[in-house]
């Protein structure tokens, strides 16, 4: 399986503060990958390292098998939309397309113009006068029209209203169906990711807590509720992700590759949002990075 993004022991330090440390992961190609994590987890730093806007302090990062931004051909393969979908406020929509055509050898003018007219954007309009949703769509159009092999998006929809958000994701999914494109997108809106992502990475405090195919993750996690149990009495081979106890009741989230049946406890499936939240709120357990990086490579 081809790997779009691979990092080994990747770290980035700003003066004395580590924004990302010891990050090891491998993302297979052909997926729409959701990168989730709380603010400050290192998502933006990771994505900036992936596209070559930042250089690593330690460790290594490879995108599509090469060093990020190391050559013109390497740059042409990667589309990037930075946080809050920046555009040039003083330039018109048409200027943006012209700029895109000049700077990208593989520029697809037809795609760009078709998108702009479908979005109903006036080419003479200054980008600074566009709504947030229109600006996001313009930034996405530029990234798409360069015909990249991988599209990296940093929180593109966080600041958009629900309608603009839906429209942005519709465009993104349409393009994913049209072109054979891998997408890596960071977000903390898990409900949106649930619709569009088929691969998920949960990053907390610069560590990968869990990563994998969404269907596989959902099929291998179980929520168990029942009368209060002493944590010591649980089967030793259970991988307990989270546990909460009241005086009378115990609720567990257990990861298991084989179905779980436990007398006296109700076993339920769990949704993606609850799964993500369980991993995000998991206190600083020892890093599971290495193991899951290996799983992701399979």
């Amino acid at each position: 399986m081809t790997v779009v993004l691979e990092t080994r022991g990747l770290g980035k330090r700003y003066r004395r503060r580590w924004a990302l440390s010891d990050c090891t992961l491998a993302i297979p190609a052909g997926h729409v990958v959701g990168l989730v994590g709380p603010n400050g987890a290192g998502k933006t730093t990771l994505l900036n390292l992936a596209v070559g806007l930042l250089a690593p302090t330690e460790g290594s990062v490879e995108i599509l098998g090469g060093t990020p931004a190391s050559s013109a051909s390497q740059l042409a393969k990667v589309g990037f939309v930075a946080q809050d979908t920046p555009t040039y406020a003083g330039l018109t929509v048409a200027d943006h397309l012209k700029l895109g055509a000049h700077m990208n050898p593989g520029w697809d003018a037809e795609v760009a113009e078709a998108r702009i007219s479908r979005l109903g954007l006036d080419p003479a309009q200054k980008a600074g006068k566009l709504s947030g949703g229109q600006r996001a769509q313009l930034a996405l159009t530029l990234a798409i029209a360069k015909r990249p092999e991988v599209l990296v998006l940093d929180e593109p929809i966080a600041s958009l209203d629900p309608l603009a958000r839906r429209e942005f994701l519709q465009t993104l999914m349409e393009v994913t169906a049209e072109q054979e494109l891998s997408v890596v997108m960071s977000s903390h809106l898990v409900s949106d990711l649930e619709r569009i992502c088929d691969y998920l990475i949960v990053l907390v405090a610069s560590r990968v807590r869990v990563s994998g195919d969404v269907d596989t993750l959902l099929a291998s996690h179980y929520q168990l509720t029942g009368p209060r149990r002493d944590p010591e009495s649980l089967p030793a081979d259970w991988d307990v992700i989270s546990a909460s106890h009241t005086d009378r009741q115990t609720t567990l989230l257990v990861r298991s590759e084989s179905p779980i049946a436990e007398p006296g406890m109700t076993v339920d499936r769990i949704g993606l949002e609850d799964l993500v939240l369980a991993y995000m709120s998991q206190a600083t357990k020892p890093a599971r990075t290495a193991r899951h990086a290996v799983e992701a490579q399979r």
Binding site: H31, V32, R166, L169, Q170, T171, L172, M173, E174, T176, A177, E178, E180, S191, E194, R195, I196, C197, D198, D215, L218, R269, G271
Partner: protein, 140 residues
């Protein structure tokens, strides 16, 4: 992957219920099966192209492909490369003719339940429990 063009001749449209807890892939399968059962879809009809579905619902193309593959595996549809996915089997059988009278009977039952003062939730709950009890009786 055959994604098909935008032919616009599809007969049904999918919708997603995010709150249902049923995965999008299963929801698509269920909606096709239901449309087949109700006679909305019949042999030769085209399912919406993958591109149309993802552009409308903003969902992952792989989700739609997976659902269509499953339907193909069940022998309900067949993919024609470069054209689209077409219905190959009809689930609506002779019983379809009975739907009208049965629906009318059910409507009468619902209005008498309303007259008796049942609210929507109670009507649904009553129907569901009776339905389950009836199935149990048939089995035993």
């Amino acid at each position: 992957m055959s994604l098909g063009g935008t032919t616009g001749s599809a007969v049904i449209e999918f919708h997603l219920d995010a709150r249902s807890g049923v995965s999008p892939y299963l929801q698509i399968i269920q909606q096709v099966r239901q449309a087949l059962r109700l006679g909305l879809l019949s042999e030769g009809d085209q399912l919406p192209t993958v591109k149309d579905v993802v552009a409308r619902l903003a969902i992952n193309p792989n989700t739609v492909l997976k659902a269509y593959r499953e339907l193909e595996y069940e022998g309900l549809v067949a993919a024609r490369a470069g054209v689209g996915t077409f219905v190959t089997k009809t689930l609506a059988d002779g019983s379809l003719a009975a739907h009208g009278p049965l629906r009318a009977g059910l409507q009468r039952w619902i209005s008498s339940a309303r007259q008796a003062g049942l609210d929507d939730d109670s009507i649904e709950a009553l129907f569901a429990t009776t339905f389950r009890a009836a199935i149990k009786e048939e089995v035993t």
